[in-house]
Structure formats: structure tokens, C-alpha cells
């Protein structure tokens, strides 16, 4: 998405070419659809990036279900559910921001983007609380997995005998949620960029592509969490 736009006025191409329309596009609609196709190609690569981690998860869970049953109780279901709701709400405000951009409701666009950004901070805050708790209890990835004696699960069951290689569950947990958190941070950066441009008045009913593309990215981050939440927190 180019930061600078051609300022070709009427006459240069024998037709009006507004400033937001890049030089090589004929119509705003063509520009929007081209950008959207590019964004979808990027989202496909993101899904494939995460597919490797889901693959590791499935293989390990299929071979060692006892580790997942033992270890998942160290994760706080309530905090996971809270974060799920925060992300779903932020997806609503993001989708609504796109709607506002399309209808040129500029104040609403800025407010909704700000709420979405705020939800990103709340999500990361909850994640920080979870990570810090695990750090204190020594529930880290396999090479640093040294659980403290007081590290009890949220559903009791302290009398269970610990299976082998529980640390690998936490390796999978930290890589999957960590990569997801990196995506949340990247999405927040993109939302901040779109928010700045919306405050500058860059968008109108014929040019709102960046809001839409950032929205697609944010929804994908939500979509991945929709699978991570039951896979990591809700093991039965």
C-alpha cells in the first residue's frame, strides 16, 4: 500500500484521477479489489505459517494424550475465555470500523479503531498475567520446565502422577500463543497506522481499502485464537 499517491489532476489521463487512486489503477473499485486480493494471498501464507504449529500440536496430542490432560489444568480457563471474548468484541468493533469508513462516518471510524486498539492492549495484559504466573511456577518450555512444588492446577488433581515430558506441552503452548501474540502486536501496529490516517482524513467512501485490509488481518488473528482457545485451555 503506497504511502504517497499520485496527485494527477483532471486532464492528465483525459479523465479525473483522484489523489487516493494510485497511478496504475483505472477506478477506485479496481484498486480496492486488487489490494484485497493481495491481502487474501498474505492471509493464506499466515494460515500456512500457523499450520506447522497446529501440526505439531495434533501429532503430539495424538501420541501423548496423557500429557495434555495432565498439563492443561495449569492454564486458567477463565482468563482464556475472557481473552476470547475480548478478541471477539474487538473483531466486532473492527468490522464496524470498516462499515463506518465505507459510509464516511469519520468520528465513528476513529472511535471504533481506538476501541479495537484498546482491546488489543487488554488481550496482551491478560496474556502477561498468564505468562507471569507460569514463569513464577516454573511452568515453562521443555528445557526450562521446573515446576515449583506449590504449582497446583486450577482443578485440583494434585494427586495425579506426572507423566513424562510435560514440558513439551508448555513448549507448544508458548510457541503457539507467543506467535499469536506477535500477530496481535503487529495487528495493533497496523490499526494504529490506520487510526492515524483516519484522523488525517485520508479515507472516504471510495477509498477505505487500508481499513478493510487491516480488518481482514485482525479477523484472522481472532480466527486463529478461536481454535487455540479450545485446543489449549479446554482439554477434557
Amino acid at each position: 500500500m503506497p504511502e504517497t499517491y499520485t496527485t494527477a489532476g483532471p486532464g492528465e489521463h483525459g479523465q479525473e484521477h483522484p489523489g487516493f487512486l494510485a497511478h496504475h489503477f483505472d477506478t477506485p473499485r479496481q484498486q480496492f479489489n486488487a489490494g484485497k486480493l493481495g491481502m487474501w494471498i498474505f492471509l493464506v501464507t499466515e494460515i500456512l505459517l500457523f499450520s506447522g504449529l497446529f501440526c505439531a500440536y495434533v501429532v503430539y496430542r495424538a501420541n501423548h494424550p496423557e500429557i495434555f490432560i495432565y498439563a492443561h489444568r495449569f492454564l486458567d480457563k477463565n482468563l482464556g475465555a475472557l481473552n476470547t471474548c475480548v478478541l471477539i468484541f474487538s473483531s466486532l468493533t473492527m468490522a464496524w470500523a470498516v462499515r463506518s469508513a465505507q459510509r464516511e462516518r469519520k468520528a465513528a471510524l476513529a472511535v471504533l479503531l481506538s476501541i479495537t486498539l484498546l482491546c488489543g492492549f487488554v488481550f496482551l495484559g491478560v496474556k502477561y498475567v498468564e505468562y507471569r504466573h507460569k514463569w513464577h511456577e516454573g511452568l515453562l518450555w521443555a528445557s526450562r520446565y521446573e515446576p515449583q512444588p506449590e504449582a497446583a492446577g486450577h482443578e485440583g488433581g494434585q494427586h495425579q502422577i506426572e507423566p513424562r515430558n510435560v514440558g513439551i506441552f508448555f513448549s507448544i503452548y508458548f510457541v503457539m500463543t507467543g506467535l499469536h501474540a506477535v500477530h496481535v502486536i503487529a495487528g495493533m501496529g497496523a490499526i494504529a497506522w490506520v487510526l492515524r490516517r483516519s484522523l488525517r482524513g485520508d479515507f472516504n467512501r471510495r477509498y477505505f481499502g487500508p481499513v478493510d485490509y487491516v480488518g481482514l488481518y485482525w479477523h484472522l488473528v481472532d480466527l486463529i485464537w478461536i481454535y487455540l482457545f479450545p485446543l489449549l485451555y479446554l482439554i477434557h
Binding site: 487474501w40 499450520s51 471474548c85 465505507q102 514440558g167 479450545p230 477434557h236
Partner: protein
């Protein structure tokens, strides 16, 4: 920024605008499904718990993709790209799973035969 002229204002929309009630309905459906997926863990369904959780997650993902990501009103190509990506994810997982399950007995056998010799940093408690 150029302001659209009167003629341009009558042009058709560049993309479908999602109605507000649809956005709200999808949001409440997603919250209800989140509650449902948590509630489903209170019931013991044996091996079916995972299937139920994944089915609910897939319904949620479909709602997000169809409405929040506009796929229902979008060019079919974008939806097709998403489906192809999901198909490849399924292919990766399935083929890897077939392979690993086939060799797992050998791994277990090796692990059991070396258990007493190997270190005690992880497990063995």
C-alpha cells in the same frame, strides 16, 4: 483528498456495506458459542469432547469469515483461497499424523528400552 462530485456520489458502492444488525447478531452468536464451548467441557463425552470443541470452533470461524471478513458478499475467489489454505492445513496434519502413528510403536519400544539409562531432567517423577 478530493471530494466526490455529485456524479460520483451516484456511482455504485465499491464494496458491500455490512448492515449493523448483522454485525451485532454475529457478535452475540460468537459469544454464545464461546459459552457453549466452555460448558461442553463440563460434560464427559469421552473422545467426542474434542470433536464437539472443534465443531463449535469451526462454526465460529465460519461466522467470522462469512460476515466479519465479508466473504459471503465478496468475490468467490477470496473464499476459495481460504478453503484451499484450510485444505492444505488438513492435508499437512493428516499425512504427518499417518506417518507418526505408524512409527510410534517403534519410538515407544526404543524409549522403554533406554528408560533406565537416560537422564532424569524431565519426567520420571
Amino acid at each position: 483528498m478530493t471530494h466526490p462530485t455529485a456524479a460520483e456520489a451516484h456511482e455504485e458502492e465499491i464494496a458491500h456495506v455490512m448492515p449493523a444488525p448483522v454485525l451485532l447478531a454475529v457478535f452475540f452468536a460468537l459469544i454464545l458459542l464461546t459459552i457453549a464451548t466452555v460448558a461442553a467441557t463440563w460434560i464427559d463425552l469421552g473422545g467426542w469432547n474434542v470433536a464437539v470443541a472443534m465443531a463449535i470452533a469451526t462454526v465460529k470461524a465460519t461466522l467470522v469469515a462469512m460476515y466479519f471478513m465479508h466473504l459471503r458478499y465478496d468475490a468467490p475467489l477470496h473464499g476459495l483461497m481460504l478453503l484451499v489454505a484450510v485444505a492444505f492445513v488438513a492435508l499437512f496434519i493428516l499425512v504427518t499424523l499417518l506417518d507418526t502413528l505408524q512409527y510410534q510403536p517403534d519410538v515407544e519400544q526404543y524409549r522403554d528400552s533406554t528408560q533406565t539409562i537416560s537422564g532424569t531432567t524431565n519426567g520420571f517423577r
